[in-house]
């Protein structure tokens, strides 16, 4: 959120039609809500060991499939007893669902942020070049059209089948379908900006192409990319959960929201808590990111609403 004042300054520098319709407070409410939930989830992820959790992968064969809120009293070697409360019950291996959900926040957020940052970096690089150099444009855009013709989740599913299952392969499999969308967005901005007088002036002044791209064209893409980044982040969190849920994502012993739900599928009729708690966290996080993205879009550039 620290980038906002600078972006806002840019916004006022270039006169654009006022967003109108919804009031200022209404728009900012979305940004505040989204950012607050996201911050909360990040804190939960970082502070996971401090939140009354136990080892999320520790199995407890004697205490499988228990309902939320159940307590287990263990007599230690020294004769004292300790009680552990399973706030969200246990799964079919006796693992604490609460701990797994809390630790699951780490994986989801990590994937969301990693995918957003990397796919935007790669897409920005390709998009800048494609938008500026015509001969590259023809080839690159045909390739991107081809990639976009494959539905994103399907492409991700196919890509994970190629690698060994793991965090990195899941991240790569989600990044590749996102890249063409970033490239298209960046390219469309470059195409409109390159006709601006200040760009022509820079060319006349003898600015070399790499410098021209970085100093004069790249800054124009930033507001759109921040907005696009939030949507990619939301999408990535969803796709990771889908892949893990289908059993083709991150290895099942790693606590991720998708894995917890995949594990809970078999006994869903009797123990629905294994699906509802992680599902709720997942939905809330994705909702927060989406609302944040909508808010930022209205705030940063009303024209973006059409482009995306």
């Amino acid at each position: 959120m620290t980038v906002e004042p600078a972006l806002l300054a840019k916004e006022t520098a270039a006169p654009r039609p006022k967003p109108g319709r919804t009031g200022r407070l209404g728009r900012d409410a979305g940004i505040i809500f989204g950012a607050a939930v996201l911050l909360l989830m990040t804190l939960i992820g970082i502070c996971a060991p401090l939140l009354g959790t136990k080892n999320p992968s520790e199995i407890n064969p004697a205490f499988r499939n228990r309902v939320p809120g159940i307590e287990q009293t263990i007599r230690n070697d020294d004769g004292n007893t300790t009680t552990f409360k399973y706030r969200m019950g246990t799964d079919s291996l006796g693992r604490d669902v609460y701990s797994r959900v809390v630790y699951g926040a780490r994986v989801s957020l990590l994937i969301g942020i990693a995918v957003a940052v990397i796919s935007i970096a790669i897409g920005l690089f390709i998009g800048l070049i494609a938008g500026y150099l015509r001969w590259v444009d023809a080839i690159v855009m045909r390739l991107m059209d081809g990639l976009m013709a494959i539905p994103a989740i399907l492409l991700a599913i196919a890509l994970v089948s190629l690698f060994r299952a793991g965090l990195l392969s899941v991240i790569i499999a989600i990044i590749i379908p996102e890249i063409p969308r970033v490239v298209r967005l960046v390219r469309s901005i470059v195409l409109s900006v390159r006709e601006e007088p200040y760009v022509e002036a820079a060319i006349m002044a003898g600015t070399r192409t790499p410098l021209l791209l970085v100093r004069h064209i790249l800054p124009n893409t930033i507001p759109a990319l921040i907005v696009q980044g939030t949507f990619i982040c939301a999408n990535a969190i969803l796709i990771e959960a889908i892949l893990s849920f289908l059993g083709i994502g991150i290895p099942p012993e790693t606590p991720t929201w998708g894995n917890i739900m995949a594990e809970g599928r078999g006994l869903f009729r009797i123990y629905p808590h294994n699906i509802f708690f992680p599902g709720l966290c997942l939905a809330l996080t994705v909702l927060a990111v989406n609302v944040l993205g909508d808010g930022l879009r209205d705030r940063l550039d009303p024209k973006l609403a059409r482009r995306m």
């Binding site: 539905p151 989740i153 399907l154 196919a158 969803l238 869903f268 009729r269 997942l282």
Partner: protein, 313 residues
Amino acid sequence: MAGYILRRLAATLPVMLIVALFVFLMLRLTPGDPAAIIAGDNANAEQIALIRNRLGLDEPIITQFFIWLMNILRGDFGESFFFKKTVAELIASRIEPTLALSIATITIAVCIAVPLGVLAAYKQGTIIDKIVMGFSVLGFSVPVFVIGYSLIYLFAIKLNWVPVQGYQRIGDGFGGFLQRLILPSITLAVIYIALIARMTRTSVLDVMGEDYIRTARAKGQVEYKVLFRHALKNAAVPIVTVIGLGVALLIGGVVVTESVFTIPGLGRLTVDAVLARDYPTIQAVILLFSLVYVLINLLIDIAYTLFDPRIRY
């Protein structure tokens, strides 16, 4: 007009060629020998050599691509080494559930989303508008399988109105077919409704300021006719476009929904194929889904010229 259709068709060819190239390279880029992958873990060197020879893997890669492409154009997708059938047979046996699910979903989504979007645009800025838009953001955010399991829990387990999971072929009785199709279709429709309602609202709002709307109102046209006959008709192009683009979401959703509801369709086949590393089947399914996606959008582009006489190519 005919020239335009031909040009659009011609533009689709390179896209599909690139999709085919990606799908082809996917198998070639896997670490290891594709012949060994296809042969599986229990094959000996001779069997691997035989497969390599049969697939033409000794040829240069470009030749291999065209051999593979020619086979596919003849409908020969190879043999699934997991299901022990030809991939073409396998796909044919799985099409019906997916087609039924998709058609039901699109029907439900359009019937709900378009009136919702028009209502939100008409009541712009009011609480109704905010509820519809809030629902739309929610629809984008809740994963398909969470919606699916919530609906199963409520309607199948608690209320016992419909069977929990499964699929019944349409030939085995229409009632049971519909009964088992209703929950998965609603599940899958949610995200689609969110998408279409949003686009409907935006594009109806866009045309509401036009002169012909004022004219319609001035001549005393009743409001719902102004909305549905004058506004919606002119707002149709972006709405239909987004329905076409949404097919990509639909295909992704089909894969998940079929797994949740254990429907033996193409989506379930995709997941099974990936779990079994059944590459010929994965390739065929991706090609097929992409082709459908591209063709639907091509048809929609062409349909504009029929819907909207203002568009001339």
